[in-house]
C-alpha cells in the first residue's frame, strides 16, 4: 500500500487528499477520556482524603500534647482527662503502652514465626502436593477467624492453661526480672503474645509457603546430587532461597501484631503504669488502650488517644518500610 502511495505514477489528486499522518494520529474516544478522567479523579480524591485525615489527626494530637503536663514520650502515666491528677490537668505518656505493644508483638513473633516456617516447610517439602494444598488451605482458614473470637478464646480458654506454663517458665527463668511474678499468672502480656502468635501465624505461613514452593529445581537437585538428606537439602537450597522473603514476611507479621486491637484488649488486664513482668496480669498496648479508653474519654482524652494512634501508625510504618528494605537489599544481592 505504501509503495503505491509513494510511487511517482500515483494519482496527484489522491496524494493531495490523503493526510500523510493518517492512521498514525491519536484517536482518543469518549470511553478513553471518561476512563482516564475518572481514574485520575479517584487518585486525586484519595490523596486529598488522606491529607485531610492526616491533618485532622495531627492537629488533634498536637493540641493534646500541648496540654500535656508531663513528657509525652517518656511518661508512664495515662490520665489525659486529669481524673486523678493533683490539679485535674492532663498527664499522659506513650512509653508504657508503647512498651507493652512491642513486648506482646515480639512474644508473638518469637513464638509464631518458627511455627509458621515449620508449617510452610512441612507443606512444601514433606507433604505430597495435593495433601499439601489442602493443609495449606486449612492454615489459611486461621486468618479468617475474627479477632474478637481469638480474644474470647484467649480469655476464656487459653488463659486457663497459661498459669501452669507461666509457672514453669518462672521456676526456670525467674532470676531474670522479666519472668518474675508476684505469684499470680494469666491475663498477662505473655498470654496476649501467644494469642498474637496464633493470629500472625497464617500470614507468615502463607507467604513463606509461596516462597519455598518456588525454590528453583536446579538448586534442589544441586543439593541432592551432593548427597544431601532432605533436611540438608532444605538447609542448602530452600532456606537460603527464601531467607529475604521470609524475613520480610516475619516483619509484616510483626506489623500486624503491633496493630492488633480487640483480642489483646480482651486478654490483657489493663494496669496503669509500666509493667515489666510479662507473666503476671497487667500490661497494655496502644491499640488496646484506645479500644478500652475511647468510650469514656472526654475531649483531651480522645485527642490524647489520637496522638497514641499516630505513634502506633508511625511504628507500623517503620516496620513495613523495614520489610521493604530487606526485600530490596536481597534483590540486589541476588542479582
Amino acid at each position: 500500500m505504501s509503495n503505491e502511495r509513494l510511487s511517482p505514477v500515483a494519482d496527484a489528486d489522491e496524494v493531495e487528499v490523503r493526510d500523510p499522518r493518517s492512521g498514525l494520529t491519536a484517536k482518543a474516544g469518549l470511553g478513553d477520556r471518561l476512563f482516564g478522567g475518572s481514574a485520575r479523579g479517584a487518585a486525586v480524591f484519595i490523596l486529598i482524603l488522606m491529607a485531610a485525615i492526616a491533618a485532622f489527626l495531627i492537629y488533634q494530637a498536637a493540641e493534646a500534647i500541648g496540654k500535656d503536663q508531663v513528657n509525652f514520650v517518656t511518661s508512664f502515666t495515662w490520665d489525659p482527662d486529669g481524673n486523678s491528677t493533683p490539679n485535674g490537668q492532663p498527664e499522659f505518656g506513650i512509653a508504657a503502652i508503647a512498651w507493652g505493644t512491642l513486648v506482646t508483638s515480639v512474644i508473638g513473633v518469637l513464638l509464631g514465626a518458627p511455627v509458621a516456617i515449620g508449617v510452610a516447610l512441612f507443606i512444601t517439602q514433606y507433604l505430597p502436593r495435593k495433601i499439601g494444598s489442602v493443609f495449606g488451605y486449612i492454615v489459611d482458614l486461621l486468618a479468617a477467624v475474627p479477632s474478637v473470637v481469638y480474644g474470647l478464646w484467649g480469655l476464656l480458654v487459653l488463659d486457663q492453661h497459661m498459669s501452669g506454663v507461666s509457672k514453669i517458665i518462672e521456676d526456670v527463668l525467674g532470676w531474670i526480672p522479666l519472668f518474675k511474678t508476684d505469684g499470680t499468672y494469666g491475663s498477662s502480656m505473655f498470654t496476649a503474645g501467644v494469642v498474637l502468635a496464633i493470629m500472625i501465624l497464617p500470614i507468615i505461613a502463607a507467604i513463606a509457603r509461596e516462597i519455598y514452593k518456588q525454590t528453583p529445581r536446579e538448586q534442589i537437585e544441586a543439593a541432592y546430587a551432593l548427597g544431601a538428606t532432605r533436611w540438608e537439602m532444605i538447609r542448602l537450597a530452600v532456606l537460603p532461597y527464601g531467607r529475604s522473603g521470609v524475613t520480610s514476611a516475619i516483619i509484616l507479621g510483626f506489623g500486624r501484631a503491633l496493630g492488633e486491637t480487640i483480642a489483646v484488649a480482651m486478654v490483657l488486664t489493663q494496669v496503669p503504669g509500666l509493667v515489666t513482668r510479662i507473666l503476671q496480669p497487667g500490661g497494655n498496648t496502644i491499640a488496646a488502650n484506645i479500644a478500652v479508653q475511647f468510650g469514656d474519654a472526654f475531649t483531651t482524652g480522645r485527642q490524647a488517644l489520637i496522638a497514641s494512634g499516630l505513634v502506633l501508625f508511625l511504628m507500623t510504618l517503620i516496620v513495613n518500610y523495614a520489610a521493604r528494605v530487606v526485600v530490596r537489599r536481597a534483590g540486589k544481592a541476588g542479582s
Binding site: 537437585e221 542448602l236 544481592a333
Partner: protein, 258 residues
C-alpha cells in the same frame, strides 16, 4: 578410586509412563562414555538412574540393576543419599548455590560429610578448584559469591563442588549446552584430565563433543512419541562415528534425522 558401572535390564518410569526400557550397558573405570540421541530418547533419564537422582521427582520409579563394581545401587539397604555422595553429578545449567561464596560452594558437600576443620576444608577446596582448572582464576576472590562468575566458570565451580567429595563416578548432563565455545573447550579439556581419576558419563547433544571427549559412545533412540527410550548400540567412539552397526545410529550421526 574410579569404579565400573554395570547396568542391566534397567527401566525407569514417570508415574505410569515408561521413559526407558530394558537398558543394559557397561562403563569401564577411568573412561569417558558419551550418551547421545535425539531429545526425549531417555539418555538423561538413564544418567539420572546412575546416582538415584531419578527418584527425587515424585511419582517416579526404577526397575532393573545398576551395579557399581559389585554393589547394586537399587539393592536392599542401599541409601540413595550415600549413593549420591559416591556418584557425583554436574547439571545442564550451572547451579552454584546463589547465596554462597565460591569457597562455600566447593565446601558444601564436604560439610555435609561432616568435615569441619578449617585447614582440611582449605586443602580440599584448593585441590578441587585446581582439579576443575578454576583455581588460578578465583584464588584471590574465594569469598566472593559464586554467582559472580561467568557461566563457564560457574560450571567449572560446579565440577569442583562435585569432585570435592571424591566421588567414584562423575555424571554430566549436557554440561556445556549453556556455555559459549571457549568455555566449552575449557570443560572438555577438564574432562580429559578428570578421566585419569574418575569414571565419567556425559550426556551431550553435540556429536563433535562426543567424538572429541569420549572413549565409548552409547546411542539412544525412541520409536515414537510416548514410546520408551531404548539403547540402540554402545561401542568404541571411533567405531560409532565411522562404522556403526545399526542403521538408526548412522542416520542420526549423519544428520538424516533427530
Amino acid at each position: 578410586m574410579a569404579k565400573r558401572i554395570d547396568v542391566s535390564g534397567l527401566s525407569a518410569y514417570y508415574g505410569s509412563v515408561r521413559a526407558i526400557e530394558d537398558i543394559s550397558l557397561t562403563v569401564e573405570p577411568r573412561t569417558v562414555t558419551a550418551f547421545i540421541g535425539p531429545s526425549g530418547c531417555g539418555k538423561s533419564t538413564v544418567l539420572r538412574t546412575l546416582n538415584r537422582m531419578h527418584e527425587v521427582i515424585p511419582g517416579t520409579r526404577v526397575e532393573g540393576k545398576v551395579l557399581l563394581d559389585d554393589v547394586d545401587l537399587y539393592g536392599p539397604g542401599i541409601d540413595p543419599v550415600a549413593v549420591r555422595r559416591t556418584v557425583g553429578m554436574v547439571f545442564q545449567r550451572p547451579n552454584p548455590f546463589p547465596t554462597m561464596s565460591i569457597y562455600e560452594n566447593v565446601a558444601a558437600g564436604l560439610r555435609l560429610n561432616g568435615v569441619r576443620g578449617k585447614s582440611d576444608l582449605d586443602g580440599v577446596v584448593e585441590h578441587s578448584l585446581r582439579g576443575a582448572n578454576l583455581w588460578n582464576e578465583v584464588k584471590d576472590r574465594l569469598n566472593k559469591p559464586g554467582m559472580g562468575l561467568s557461566g563457564g566458570q560457574q560450571q567449572r565451580l560446579c565440577i569442583a563442588r562435585a569432585i570435592a567429595v571424591s566421588p567414584e563416578v562423575l555424571l554430566m548432563d549436557e554440561p556445556c549446552s549453556a556455555l559459549d565455545p571457549i568455555s566449552t573447550l575449557a570443560i572438555e579439556d577438564l574432562i580429559a584430565q578428570l578421566k585419569s581419576e574418575y569414571t565419567i558419563v556425559i550426556v551431550t547433544h553435540n556429536m563433535q563433543q562426543a567424538a572429541r571427549v569420549s572413549d565409548r559412545t552409547a546411542f539412544f533412540n525412541i520409536a515414537g512419541t510416548g514410546e520408551p527410550g531404548k539403547l540402540i548400540e554402545i561401542d568404541e567412539t571411533p567405531r560409532i562415528f565411522a562404522n556403526p552397526s545399526q542403521r538408526a545410529t548412522e542416520d542420526y550421526i549423519t544428520g538424516r534425522f533427530g
